[in-house]
Symmetry: C2
Subunit: 234 residues, 2 copies
Amino acid sequence: MIQIIAFDADDTLWHNENLYARIQEKFRELLSGYHPAAEVNRRLYEMEMHNMAYFGYGIKAFTLSMIETAIELSDGQIQAREIQAIIGFAREMLDTEIHLMEQVEDVVAGLAHSYPLMLVTKGDMFEQQAKIAKSGIADYFDYIDVVNRKNEESYRMLLRRYGIDARHVLMVGNSLKSDVLPFVAIGGQAVHIPYHITWAHETVAALQGAQQPYFELAHIGLLPALVERLNQSS
Amino acid sequence: MIQIIAFDADDTLWHNENLYARIQEKFRELLSGYHPAAEVNRRLYEMEMHNMAYFGYGIKAFTLSMIETAIELSDGQIQAREIQAIIGFAREMLDTEIHLMEQVEDVVAGLAHSYPLMLVTKGDMFEQQAKIAKSGIADYFDYIDVVNRKNEESYRMLLRRYGIDARHVLMVGNSLKSDVLPFVAIGGQAVHIPYHITWAHETVAALQGAQQPYFELAHIGLLPALVERLNQSS
């Protein structure tokens, strides 16, 4: 019996990864005088992974990694005005409007009539809370949490804090690694709704996904019917 | 009757602002070839305030503000290796060990025998949680929260989430603006323990402090006696 529905936010409720993709295109363009574009993405990703233990997730961490990558790939020839342009990318990202994915508002509003809803998003708290506030749908959620990690332990801690049994929660998200696999591993149910771009860090080998069953939906518009089916059969 | 004791962390339980002061000294030194040192702090602070709405609090935000200030104050003459040095400052800050203030461990351990303890810290969640983990005293706290803002509304929300009545909470912190005044305004009790450096952003005009009574202690070692006195008289 599903009693609570939990949602990931970035690339589940609203577009996010396409913003990073757009800025990376600008970044490659900025460095085009110094370095072949093909290398830039690879090196930037390596820098992000290297910096993650220091800087964590989010736009500020991404920006510092872009600056370091630019210094490295230009052999220290990058100019101050170009670094200023990279900081400008950060401002542009932080200023970008939230674009909800199709049908999200109807689905969330509809489910909120019958279920308490939870929003669980990973990343920089300041940035995530700004997005939640701008999304226009925050009021539908009874629980909103920004977490540093999405793994079995962090989900367990979160549910324990609220006194919620994982077996009664359906978690909905675009990331197998963050939203689906750890959640089914702690005894919850989960729905995977793929987004057309997945950040390399969020991909998992197919084998890891095979340990527990989960649901797969092509888009969020199909979620209410799934919830109804689950609660009829229980 | 005090039932729960809540603590701010930075500059209340452990040193923090002195780290920012030390890095600002290095930053002034780095810019000394471009600009008179006296101006640097003022301009950096203005940049931090300007950037706060975009970047929030914390080391990454501070670093981006240092980079922008360096570009501006050098009229764009700053070199890539100097900007790399500023990013090095960020790594140094994030790597710094936590230094607890004197008597903190004894006081916290002692109070934890008799009271549930709460830790409420403002700032970048990733950075704050890393500090909490490194502090070695996290296990004494029953509630740990990183918040974006410390004002009447955020304290009310936090206590409501846990079903706690503000009248039964004693909040301890070094910032009148963030820890003391909003907390007494919502009906709680508060203890101010000044730190020898206060970030300009955390200062308040003396008049604003005069609306509600609060306690003032010279150091945290005096806290257990205050708690005992409060609970004997009630």
